[in-house]
Symmetry: C2
Subunit: 189 residues, 2 copies
């Protein structure tokens, strides 16, 4: 009876966040998430492997970062390509209407060690995705590695600042500022 | 009946490696590890939380890195302090007689996704430990973060090269060379 459900993924994420937020992550089951979203168990599993994955959006972010690096202007340096990828993230994923959601998501993750572990591993996967995309642009291996680390750090810090502050600045602005700060810091190593 | 067992931790690690290596990580139980080491279950649990932890040596590495940064000469830059910490690791942990063990350990981890995940998380804990130690030396936050990332990368790459090569160079030499390469790469970001 599986039918395509409009925005099923989005509905599941929001339902999960409400439940994790209200009664806690441990006490919430994937069945309750599906029910609250008005969807079936099998729809849940078409989108996510388990309840822990609901807050981590599959491979979307890794794909967007790789795409952003690949579509950066031809002569761009490694860090400029990374900055371009963070702009793409700001346009496609961390849009202004996602800010409040992101702040709630961060609070739920901060309250649970298992989710923190999952987030840390996702961060490493994003770094790997950026490193590989830079290498496909013929960036030398160590430079690619470092630029990707800078990008991952900028992504993390920008996400924190952007989700906590209501000053109208968009994610991309935060990310670019932090990348500049990181580059200045790298001159004083 | 708990008695202090000489080198219990070391014996457990070697027994685990033999078993993981021979019959595979999944098929080995912590009881078999304890038996092979000639020790009891309770001795096992005094040293490690579970069989996955046996290859990751508790908090020794994080402590050595922090200590190495704290005892670096007063005027050392952030990266020089990190290099000093990697020298300490070479003297205290990755000594020449550990090289063969380390090569076997790496092969076991490479064959198992669960162990790879654990290693990735340990890597993040080591980065955090170095960042905090640098901040205690009044290194500015972003510089501390970056220098610790450089250190973690150098640690990882040096460990790979050192454990794979029998050319008599010690771990510290590899680590310093890679740190230099990383610093040069950071000039071309």
């Amino acid at each position: 009876m599986a039918r395509w459900q409009p925005n099923a993924s989005e509905r599941l994420v929001l339902a999960a966040l409400d439940l994790f937020d209200g009664r806690g992550y441990e006490k919430t089951t994937f069945i309750e998430i599906a029910e609250r979203a008005g969807l079936t168990k099998s729809t849940f599993f078409r989108h996510f492997a388990d309840k822990r994955e609901v807050l981590f959006g599959g491979d979307t972010m890794a794909g967007l970062l790789a795409e952003g690096i690949e579509t950066a202007p031809e002569g761009a340096t490694a860090v400029e390509a990374v900055a371009h990828a963070l702009d793409v993230i700001g346009r496609e994923a961390f849009t202004p209407e996602r800010r409040e959601f992101s702040a709630r998501r961060r609070a739920v993750i901060a309250a649970n060690p298992e989710l923190q572990e999952r987030e840390a591993l996702k961060g490493l996967a994003l770094t790997a995705s950026m490193t590989e995309a830079l290498e496909r642009r013929d960036t030398p291996a160590l430079t690619a590695c470092l630029a990707a680390q800078l990008g991952a750090l900028a992504l993390k810090i920008a996400y924190e600042r952007w989700s906590e502050t209501i000053d109208g600045r968009d994610f991309g602005e935060y990310a670019r500022q932090i990348l500049r700060e990181l580059q200045m810091a790298s001159d004083h190593l």
